[in-house]
């Protein structure tokens, strides 16, 4: 192989800057004009944007309200609980990368990026205490990685269990268990806000709408008429209304179905609304995957004596879900952004917080700065999700048979 790759392409084929430009930018009159126009457009917009970012924008509003934007009104004295959960999470991620990434090149590069990210954030203008926690996050990632490297079977099990118990631990830490004087005083959901709330709404939406959506997709194909009609009715009804109206109904109508005296709080109502909404779309996407499984797969499974449940869970669903992973990831990213609508029903997610910040007399007229920063936050996390998903798809061999 080496001998072959060592032969250089003929001189005329070797790209010179001028040749490259001629080939890819100016290869015809029309394309040359298009290139020139695009350069002009990028230049004007870019210059304007850069000038604004560096000379005109008043970023002080972000620095002052950063904690509010990230965590809402979560009490300062209790923020350590969130950091602690994040430390555990970092440890789990380090562990998992070492175990399931087989300590390979991709896992290493990815892990290095994850370690670098908090360190970079620590360099920005934040308090000393946060800086300490951020360095701690990187340290836990590295620690998790080294402890995970033996990758034994027991270790795998422990880490898998870890992933299951992390969410409840996080929620318990977040909400607290004791009255005000205890170690873990209760922090009501009315104080959860900002990026934290946006994340919670997204994750809860994904975790609960996934099984619900799969059941609806199966229900839509069921031979039991009642189940099928219910599934079709549900899916078509939900898909026919905008999320915002579902959120309003969840706030206003959910209490009607509950016995008198029981109230559920507004955050949970929003979570229910988002879950019900997302499940209908997920069901349709999963149905697409189910339809792509050839009849022969069902027949082979039945012929060897597997019952309907086994056929679905062992043969059909694993293949169908693998087919639709890219679509589901897209749906989850969309869900992450759609949670912004809860601001309209009065919840203080990132957008809700942005509105309250802008309502303060000190920060009047700074919409541009605040919404630019909010958009940047959304973009960073959406892009990160889609990047991780792509890597995962490659390593899982999605789309290959």
């Amino acid at each position: 192989m080496a001998a072959v790759t060592d032969i250089k392409p003929p001189l005329s084929e070797r790209p010179s800057p001028l040749g490259w430009a001629r080939k890819y930018l100016f290869n015809s009159l029309g394309n040359s004009l298009l290139t020139i126009f695009s350069i002009w457009l990028i230049y004007t917009v870019g210059i304007g944007l850069l000038r604004w970012v560096f000379t005109q924008a008043e970023w002080q509003v972000i620095a002052t309200n950063l904690r509010l934007i990230l965590l809402g009104q979560y009490p300062i004295a209790q923020v350590w609980r969130i950091w602690l959960s994040l430390l555990l999470l970092a440890f789990l991620i380090g562990n998992s990368l070492a175990i399931w990434g087989k300590a390979g090149k991709t896992a290493k590069r990815f892990g290095a990026g994850l370690v670098a990210f908090p360190l970079l954030l620590a360099l920005t203008a934040i308090g000393a205490e946060s800086r300490g926690w951020l360095v701690g996050l990187s340290a836990m990632l590295i620690l998790g990685w080294y402890l995970g490297r033996p990758a034994t079977r027991t270790l795998r099990r422990v880490v898998a269990v870890g992933w299951f118990i992390w969410p409840p631990i996080f929620l318990i830490l977040l909400r607290g268990t004791t009255p005000a004087e205890g170690v873990l005083p209760i922090v009501g959901t009315n104080l959860w806000g900002g990026l934290l709330l946006t994340f919670l709404l997204t994750v809860v939406g994904i975790v609960f709408s996934f099984p619900l959506g799969v059941f609806l997709a199966l229900g839509r194909r069921s031979e039991l008429r009642i189940v099928r009609w219910f599934s079709i009715g549900y899916i078509e009804l939900i898909r026919g209304v905008p999320l915002i109206s579902i959120l309003f109904m969840a706030q206003l109508m959910l209490p009607l179905f509950l016995p008198a005296g029981i109230t559920i709080d507004r955050v949970i109502r929003a979570m229910v609304g988002i879950t019900l909404f997302s499940a209908a779309y997920l069901a349709e996407n999963v149905r697409g995957g189910l339809q792509a499984i050839p009849k022969g797969q069902f027949e082979a499974a039945h012929a060897m004596g597997l019952n309907g449940l086994q056929t679905m869970s062992l043969i059909v669903l694993p293949q169908a879900l693998r087919l639709v992973i890219p679509i589901l990831v897209g749906q989850f990213i969309a869900l992450f952004k759609d949670t912004a609508l809860v601001a309209i029903v009065g919840l203080l997610d990132i957008v809700g917080i942005a509105k309250t910040v802008l309502a303060q007399p000190d920060f009047l007229g700074l919409q541009r700065e605040v919404y630019a920063f909010v958009s940047l936050l959304y973009w960073v996390f959406s892009y990160a999700m889609s990047y991780v998903a792509q890597r995962l798809e490659i390593s899982l061999g999605v789309g290959q048979r």
Binding site: P294, G296, Q297, E299, A300, A301, H302, A303, M304, G305, L306, N307, Q310, L314, I315, P318, Q319, R322, Q400, R401
Partner: protein, 249 residues
């Protein structure tokens, strides 16, 4: 191996309609344990439909089908019992692409027969050796040739230790050079005493191991007999014509 007292498969006056289309028009057949039956006939004559009624991949609408003493009815338990006793090999292999060869074979024994993993894997390796590809155990079906895939499919069906094996044109999706490797496995299986119903146009196979042959046309059995009888002196004009077509081309 023939035990002429108690047939293992009994079909009496079996009818099947697809909508208004009458696909099976009164099929009668009795198969003894250990018999090798070859079913042949023109395309659309109902061969696949017939063998698929035996394990209820198609539902018949009139007549009786009794497999190993169990009557095929709407009772799901009977259907599952019959499916456990019959293995099936398809034209398109129908291996599970997301599972390795070994997992394809151990799946049903573990989930239906409730064997433990070690026992199922031991059996699987034994069968893979029998069909000649033990070294492929860890691969995925997509990495195998057609002939190898079909041999895995045979091993997978055998893993349930069935009493009856159904084959629906097992070699027609294969390139010519792979047909022999699959037929060899089937011939060995036939000689080991397995009860087999084989839809095929491989007349060499029929001549070598079939006990009886059935000629299907338009949803009916036109003629049946031993290979000798059918090849030497078919009684019906339709059989004669069809045989001469597939033997001389």
């Amino acid at each position: 191996m023939k035990n002429s007292n108690k047939p293992i498969i009994v079909c009496r006056d079996v009818h099947k309609w697809f909508g208004d289309f009458h696909a099976l028009r009164g099929i009668d057949m009795e198969v003894q344990q250990g018999e090798v039956i070859v079913i042949f006939g023109p395309s659309g004559s109902g061969k696949s439909t017939f063998i698929r009624t035996i394990n209820r991949l198609e539902e018949h609408q009139r007549g009786d089908i009794i497999v190993d003493g169990i009557e095929l009815s709407h009772d799901v338990r009977n259907i599952e019992k019959i499916r456990e006793e019959t293995g099936m090999v398809f034209q398109q292999f129908n291996l599970f692409p997301h599972l390795t060869v070994l997992q394809n074979i151990t799946l049903a024994p573990m989930w239906v027969r409730k064997w433990d993993k070690a026992k199922a894997e031991e059996k699987a390796m034994e069968l893979l050796t029998r069909v000649g590809i033990p070294e492929q155990a860890a691969k995925y079906p997509g990495q195998l040739s057609g002939g190898q895939q079909q041999r895995v499919a045979i091993a997978r069906a055998l893993a349930m230790e069935p009493k009856i094996m159904l084959f629906d044109e097992p070699t027609s999706a294969l390139d010519p050079e792979m047909i022999k490797e699959v037929l060899d496995v089937m011939i060995e299986l036939a000689r080991s005493g397995m009860t087999m119903l084989v839809v095929t146009h491989e007349m060499g196979f029929a001549r070598a191991v079939a006990d009886r042959m059935f000629f299907f046309d338009k949803g009916e059995i036109v003629e049946s007999g031993t290979p000798k009888e059918l090849f030497a002196s078919p009684k019906e004009q339709r059989t004669k014509l069809f045989l001469s077509q597939i033997l001389h081309h």
